[in-house]
């Protein structure tokens, strides 16, 4: 029994260290925002300041990059969500040979390094005389984000009771009405979740975007370029704002998801 107690405390200690490891870097980055130093650091501490938020707010290139990111993310959401939904509907309906091959093919963008998705898109569209830019970024990101959407929708479809469709049809609904009135409302929460994830995946993408961005700059690319050249704590201020925004969004999303799963269980 004694070794068991040691083990238990060992595990607790490990969990503590692990979460410390997970959050310390983010906390240090946040704290460095308020250090009155030209370079982002917490050691040595040169006194507290809020000026880096001001510097950030006046950074026109940053606002441009933010706008580009939002445009790209909305574009990806509008293209990738319908594609992902179609794939999920297809996979949940058809049976027979070729299905597992198609499934592997649909999964393959998730198992391909992001740089390769970017490169292949760049080469393919160059042949059609389309150069890097916002449009190509949307296309390249959609390539793999559609697969994420597919998995999320598929997970919900697998719990769908197909007898509901049969009931609708025997009551005289056309296939379209059945889809519109029965299946689509059932899928709605999953579609919303998938849209949120698609937006975020697009917003934070770097490896793929780097190859297809052309002369346009997304916020992630902008931050990376700032880290390498012209690094000031204004980057931390931007990071802190983004972290606070994401954490709030994440909490809202998770709480909502949990409430929904509770409703489903009832």
């Amino acid at each position: 029994m004694k070794s068991e107690t040691i083990l238990r405390w060992g595990v607790r200690f490990y969990i503590g260290v692990f979460f410390l490891y997970l959050f310390t870097p983010l906390i240090i980055m946040g704290i460095a925002t308020f250090n009155d130093s030209r370079f982002p650091t917490v050691s040595p501490w040169k006194g507290a300041t809020m000026k880096w938020f001001g510097v950030l707010a006046e950074d026109g290139a940053m606002w441009d990059a933010l706008l580009t990111s939002v445009i790209v993310a909305i574009g990806v959401l509008l293209v990738a969500v319908p594609i992902g939904v179609c794939c999920a509907l297809f996979l949940s309906t058809v049976q027979g040979r070729g299905k597992s091959f198609l499934y592997s093919l649909m999964m393959s963008p998730l198992l391909t390094p992001g740089v390769i998705v970017g490169i292949s898109t760049l080469i393919f569209w160059k042949g059609l005389s389309v150069n890097g830019g916002i449009v190509l970024t949307v296309i390249a990101q959609t390539t793999f984000i559609a697969a994420y959407v597919m998995l999320m929708i598929l997970a919900r479809l697998q719990r769908f009771d197909r007898t509901l469709e049969q009931a609708a049809q025997s009551l005289g609904a056309t296939p379209w009405q059945t889809f519109r009135r029965v299946l689509l409302p059932y899928l709605k929460p999953a579609i919303i979740s998938a849209a949120v994830i698609a937006f975020l995946q697009s917003f934070e993408n770097y490896n793929t975007t780097l190859f297809v961005k052309g002369y346009d700059t997304t916020l992630t690319v902008y931050i990376a370029s700032k880290v390498r050249t012209g690094l000031t704590p204004a980057v931390n201020a931007l990071g802190l704002v983004m972290i606070v925004a994401t954490v709030l969004l994440a909490i809202v999303y998770e709480v909502k998801k949990r409430r929904e799963s509770r409703v489903v269980k009832l």
């Binding site: 980055m29 760049l122 080469i123």
Partner: protein, 295 residues
Amino acid sequence: MFKQLAGRFGGGLAAGIIAMIAVWLLGMVILPQLLMVDYSFRPNLLPAELGGPKDTYSLINYETLFNNSIHLSIFFKTIWSSVLVTLLTLVVSYPLAYYLAKVATPRQAALCILLLIIPFWINEILRTFSWYIILAYKGPLNALLLALGMIDRPVRFLSGDGGVMIGMVYAYILFMIFPLYNAIESLDINQIKAARNLGAGWIRTHYRVIIPHAKPGIATGCIMTFMLAAGSYAVPALLGSPGSRWFTQIIYNWFFEGGNWNQGAAYAFLLLILCIGFIALIMKVFKVGLGDIAK
């Protein structure tokens, strides 16, 4: 297949579904990849020379790699370091995944998972940037180690592969934890109890009962982590130095500094083959199929 779709959704919608899938799979997944491979076997020519006598298939772009000892050593270093990152991530993640799945109360587990998800939502660039601050020559880690008297002078963490690997473990750890957690969670706790009652020690229980059950999760986690590590551009670009370049950076240079896309395509295809090879190897070693991975 169309019949099945049309039976459920009607002809119009079924045609729309097929069209959307075709556009995606052909226009974004298959054809671009094929064209990239095609590109890699062609020489880098001026636009006027395309289709001319010089425009023939050859292995010349692949020979470049094998004749360039620096690129070749970076290629192998990328493989080796990515394997190391994968193993390190697995070792760090396993105890936590086990704790979450089998030791923690549902309430504790839910809280831990929420805490795990939060950094996962944050941009990879920002997470990597935070390590840039910590590992800097005059950064807090060096200050702490100096204050504790563990080192005499600051360490240059950011000048070797060490910093890159630390950053990668941090950036990709959740891609390991969640598959592991899902796999271990599905194991019946009675099997662990039975092993314990029959006299198996903790190590034996893990080795003979839990790990075999968690195989698909281990395989998925390893595949995802390796693929992300080998294909990472952000982490080595931020935490590395000119002396610790990653293969992806060489590829990038062929495209945007060397201006030789054909050469870049050949290197990219090699990276893709490497990842496919790793996936095939893991699936063989762990005896799992692609269907298990998607879970």
